[in-house]
Amino acid sequence: MTTPRDEGISSLFDDELDNQVLGDNQAKNQVEHGTDTDQQTEQVLDQLCRETECKQRWSRYQIIHDTLQRHLPPAIDPDFSSRVMAAIESDPTVLAPPISDTNPSPENSENHHRNHSSVSYISDFMNTALNKKLGKRVAGFAVAASVTAISVLSFQYNYQQQSTGQFDVSAANNANMMASSKVVALDEVKRAGQITVPYSPAQIAAGHRNHSVNTVSASKLNANSLSTTLSGSNTIAKPSVALAVKKRAPLLSNVSITDPAISAHLRKYLINHSQNVSGTRLQSVMPYARIVTDSRMLAIQKNPQQ
């Protein structure tokens, strides 16, 4: 290792940063003075995220690691993560967390619909929700490391559920969309046939610093159906804020997007209906099953196709 910077990257990769970057005396001082050694890690991570050369070095270390561990595929594309990120940015499907205070007023929502396409509306809507509700919790991450992405999102999902505890429908949507993102991530990896980098610097920084994020993983599979079903439906009947979906495609059940207030309202009707009509049903269990299940009311259809 020629420079302290390179040494730091190497140590971070080997999870030995504290021991090697800090000398023994320095470490003792930090322990004595209560200095958080995580700050050192954070500095190295900052460097990794900022400097292209550091990123490349990190990638090389990943390849060396995988070579030694015999994890290499037949072909290697060192630029895989950037291609995945580009695919994400061009994908209109957006993950949504549970939302509680982002419901636009009817007037605002109407203007919103007039001025935006449905897809951009969804993106804006969800990004607003992300920014407001998630706050500064998670930093950007690449889909390539799907397991990490899922675990980070899962934490957010659980956190939301415990903290708000009132939007089961949205939470269910979120969970399902997380499942979608996992599928897509794996699909991307499979299609690329490339090396899977266990952790990118940005991801480690994300887990370490808990910063905010606007990047969300998206489904290419579902994006196709969404982009077709959501196009050309900019106006919604006043004063509804429902999202338009033309076709009831099976894949849509995994990317259900709807206004949480409407979802909650529909769920209320569903429960009431289920508890009232169970005596009339052939299978008395079925209505109750709907109650206890994470019932996901899918997007409202403006012009439902019969």
Binding site: Q161, P239, K268, H273, G279, L282, R290
Partner: protein, 353 residues
């Protein structure tokens, strides 16, 4: 020596306790084993090859009310599979049924006769509601089976096997596009419904409920019917009807165009959760499929909505009539809920215009 005697005595006493515990355990196991034997194997519930679909369905409804059983059910819809524990206590003392969601967020539903209590741990709330018993299926099959002739065709199918038990299959096919079909697997021994499918127009299975394990018991201990969710710090929503259903008539609304075979079953006022005013609740049924129509003023909700949605086989359609939100919910095709929602008319506006 004295100490040894005392110690020996203690050992003897301890051994006696152990034997006693062992006896109790053996007795419990014996009881438990005995309980797993089908007790309600009455001739009235088992059936022969010649029995018609009508007879089989009557026995099925009777079995679902009378038998004590405990099992695990899988419920699939929209490509999702959920598993649930079902405990049912029947008999002359009344029915108690407990359904426990085994995956994800803990939720339970407990029904004591006509009172349904839903424990939603995710929302930290408990919903209490009264089930509508005015149109129970047993009465329908006993007295009105002929009325299905215009809407459904009933066929007794072959023999199947569900949850390790031999089952008789019944096919119920709709005669038009306003309702779904059913495929039922009935336990050949006791007529209990082991599996049911809700079938769409193209033969697609929209929803499926199936026992994967089932024990019919002599009795159900009370502790098995207690909710595991305490609900102490939860918000309780009392959703029982505030007005007697018999006293409610549909004075302000009418349905101009109901699908063939569907009739208004009951009319009531419902106190919906988190709502201050009462909603008109109309249940429309063709005898098998049930549809709820809710009519609420806009003041009780944040925003109206127009359009359709669905969950599993349940379709919902929202419409706005005058200043009221009309929401139609039912296990029927989208076509049917839309047709009913669009047929709702205000008596006042019709009289005026």
């Amino acid at each position: 020596v004295i100490n040894q005697v005392i110690l020996f005595g203690l050992l003897i006493t301890l051994a006696q306790f152990c034997v006693a515990d062992s006896d109790m355990l053996t007795r419990d196991l014996t009881v438990s084993k005995h309980q797993t034997q089908p007790s309600l194997n009455s001739p009235s519930l088992s059936f022969s090859e010649e029995d018609s679909a009508e007879v089989l369905l009557e026995r099925m409804v009777l079995a679902s009310k009378q038998l004590n059983y405990h099992g695990t059910v899988v419920y699939s819809h929209d490509g999702i599979i959920e598993s649930m524990q079902v405990i049912h206590k029947g008999g002359p003392g009344g029915e108690v049924e407990r359904l426990v969601q085994l995956n994800g967020v803990p939720r339970e539903v407990i029904r004591k006769d006509d009172v349904v209590t839903c424990y939603m741990s995710g929302r930290r709330s408990v919903l209490v509601g009264k089930r509508n018993l005015n149109s129970n299926l047993l009465a329908t099959f006993s007295k009105k089976f002929a009325s299905f002739s215009d809407t459904y065709r009933f066929d007794v199918g072959g023999i199947g096997r569900v949850a390790g038990k031999v089952a008789r299959i019944i096919n119920i096919q709709p005669k038009d596009n306003y309702r779904y079909g059913y495929k039922l697997w009935l336990n050949k021994e006791n007529a209990l419904l082991l599996k049911s499918e809700l079938v769409g127009a193209n033969g697609d299975v929209l929803e499926q409920v199936m026992f994967v394990q089932l024990d019919v018991l002599d009795s159900i201990p009370d502790f098995m019917l207690q909710p595991s969710i305490s609900g102490e710090s939860y918000t309780w929503h009392q959703g029982a009807s505030k007005t007697k259903e018999s006293a409610v008539t549909l004075d302000n609304w009418l349905f101009s165009n109901l699908p063939v075979g569907f009739k208004i079953s009951t009319v009531s006022k419902q106190q919906m959760p988190n709502s201050k005013s009462l909603a008109d609740h109309v249940i429309i049924s063709d005898g098998l499929a049930s549809i709820s129509v809710y009519i609420e003023s806009f003041g009780v909700q944040s925003q109206p909505f127009v359009g359709s949605s669905y969950m599993g086989a349940v379709n919902i359609y929202g419409a706005v009539v005058d200043d009221f939100q009309v929401t139609v919910v039912g296990e029927v095709p989208p076509l049917t809920v839309k047709m009913i929602a669009e047929s709702v008319l205000s008596v006042a506006s019709k009289a005026g215009g």
